[in-house]
């Protein structure tokens, strides 16, 4: 392996895709690129956060021919993509003329090329180990892709080892919280389906809060318990006890979010708690007036909105926008009515920005996805709201569920997250 000579000084990096390829769906591109970042996240202490707007560390674009950096693309084949080392900004450009594909032997595999380019974005040069991801030549689609040990050693030279993974990527998920693996934890056996998700299923699946942690995983808090989410269900071994794993944090949390500085904030009543890498920071909890002046007590939920990267607090039928870079952080024009968020209900249970860059809102076991461009709840098939248990928590929903109003809602077999 070869290190270029520069690296990022922070462990949490943000990225945005400012120009998508024309031949793939946006959501598919989001997912494949997130997977590509995950390759590096799995073996280091790095985390990657996808933002839709605002300033980011790594900007990703699909371009054709000359595209402004003096390194023109050459049409189909030849050069597929290039990326800049950290000292030059870390941006990654992909040749729009390529036939980018997903899980296919045809065309050029987007995930593999992206994982390679992001290696450059993190400071790796090309390797002369032919089996390494950082070898310069495209090898064709590899359905069982694994990072070569050469790549692992290289990236860990720059960013250290992941808390629980030594020199392999075969482990796809990490126990939580990182760095506290030896801490005794209390887990619960709810005796239902063995997945520990019974309390999150059905119309009774009302949750307290949901957020994306600094490890880029989604977490659900409800009562005294919390769950980590994996691709299609809750992670094995969950729920766990909030009090046992999150030092100083009470149950029945109102809201939570992870800010761009990688710190996670929890809100309950008139106080808030701040955690860095799952460890409670000194002098917390604090009163809302000390850090979030203008935010009311007993909020319903909060999120860092994918539309502009600012913090929004919701309570009842109103919301407040909080911008830490402004003084005061909340303008005098707030609160405003939630009805401005077309399609969202009042009195939300939870809201959060998922790793795919979308913002999701939850209430009474249902959820809504918000379209940041049209500024209203997204359309979809099936439409929103959807049952959160099926789409997020891996619940084995019955084929027919009764809505509170008495009508029947058909529910497909669960198969994947949104």
């Amino acid at each position: 392996y070869a290190l270029q000579g520069s690296r990022w000084r922070v462990k949490q990096l943000t990225y945005s895709i400012t120009k998508y390829p024309s031949a793939l769906k946006t959501a598919d591109v989001d997912r494949e690129l997130a997977k590509a970042f995950q390759v590096w996240e799995d073996v280091t202490e790095l985390t990657f956060v996808h933002l839709r707007t605002g300033k980011v560390h790594i900007e990703i674009r699909f371009e054709s021919g000359e595209h402004g950096d003096g390194d023109a693309f050459d049409g189909t084949g030849g050069t597929l993509a290039h990326a800049y080392f950290p000292i030059y900004g870390g941006d990654a450009h992909f040749d729009e003329s390529e036939t980018w594909t997903i899980n296919s032997y045809k065309g050029t595999n987007l995930f593999q090329v992206a994982a390679h380019e992001f290696g450059h974005s993190l400071g790796l040069s090309h390797s002369d180990v032919r089996s390494a991801l950082m070898a310069p030549f495209y090898r064709g689609y590899e359905p069982n892709f694994k990072l070569d040990n050469d790549d692992v050693v290289a990236i860990q030279q720059l960013y250290g080892k992941s808390g629980n993974v030594a020199t392999t990527t075969e482990t796809s998920s990490r126990p939580l919280p990182p760095g506290r693996a030896t801490t005794p934890r209390v887990s619960f056996d709810d005796g239902s389906n063995g997945r520990g998700n019974a309390e999150l299923c059905g119309s009774e699946g009302k949750i307290d809060t949901m957020f994306t942690g600094p490890d880029n995983k989604a977490y659900v808090f409800k009562g005294e318990k919390y769950w980590k989410l994996e691709a299609e269900a809750v992670a094995p071994g969950y729920p766990r006890s909030i009090r046992a794993d999150w030092e100083g944090l009470p149950g029945n949390i109102d809201a939570a979010f992870t800010w761009t500085n990688g710190r996670t904030y929890f809100f309950k009543g008139s106080r808030y708690w701040r955690y860095t890498n799952f460890e409670l920071d000194a002098d917390y909890p604090k009163d809302l007036s000390e850090g979030f002046a203008g935010v009311p007590s007993n909020i319903d939920t909060a999120l860092v909105w994918s539309g502009n990267g600012k913090i929004y607090f919701f309570k009842g039928s109103q919301y407040w926008r909080f911008d830490p870079q402004q003084k005061p952080p909340i303008k005098s024009t707030y609160p405003k009515d939630i009805s401005n968020w077309e399609g969202l209900p009042n009195s939300l249970d939870a809201a959060f920005q998922f790793t795919n860059g979308y913002s999701y809102f939850f209430k009474n076991g249902q959820y809504w996805r918000f379209n940041d461009r049209s500024f209203k709840v997204d359309e979809g098939q099936p439409g929103y709201p959807r049952p959160a248990g099926k789409w997020w928590f891996g619940c084995d929903e019955v084929n027919f569920k009764t809505r509170p109003g008495g009508s029947k809602l058909f529910v497909d077999r669960p198969h994947a997250n949104d």
């Binding site: 990326a83 030059y88 941006d91 002369d128 030549f137």
Partner: protein
């Protein structure tokens, strides 16, 4: 895959070697009239062959041409410093 720029001639090979850091980047522009010794080209080809895991003959043989024609990343294999380093405009 379609090879956008198949490498089969000496000139194409030199441009490839220059583009990816094995030869002076000035050679990437054929109109520059730069002269280069055969020994330098041989060393550059050996360097590439070593990097690609090929037999190190120093000759632009069919296998070397094949590997130079493969789809690949556009970042240089040999990343220099100073004026030859990649710069973001």
């Amino acid at each position: 895959h379609v090879d956008a720029a198949p490498v089969s001639t000496d000139t194409q090979a030199m441009m490839y070697l220059a583009r990816f850091g094995y030869l002076d980047p000035a050679l990437q522009n054929p109109s520059s009239g730069a002269l280069i010794s055969g020994d330098s080209v041989r060393r550059a080809i050996i360097d590439f062959q070593s990097f690609a895991g090929l037999n190190q003959t120093g000759i632009l043989d069919p296998e070397t041409s094949t590997w130079m024609s493969k789809p690949r990343c556009g970042v240089r294999d040999r990343v220099g410093a100073g004026s030859s380093a990649r710069r973001k405009r």
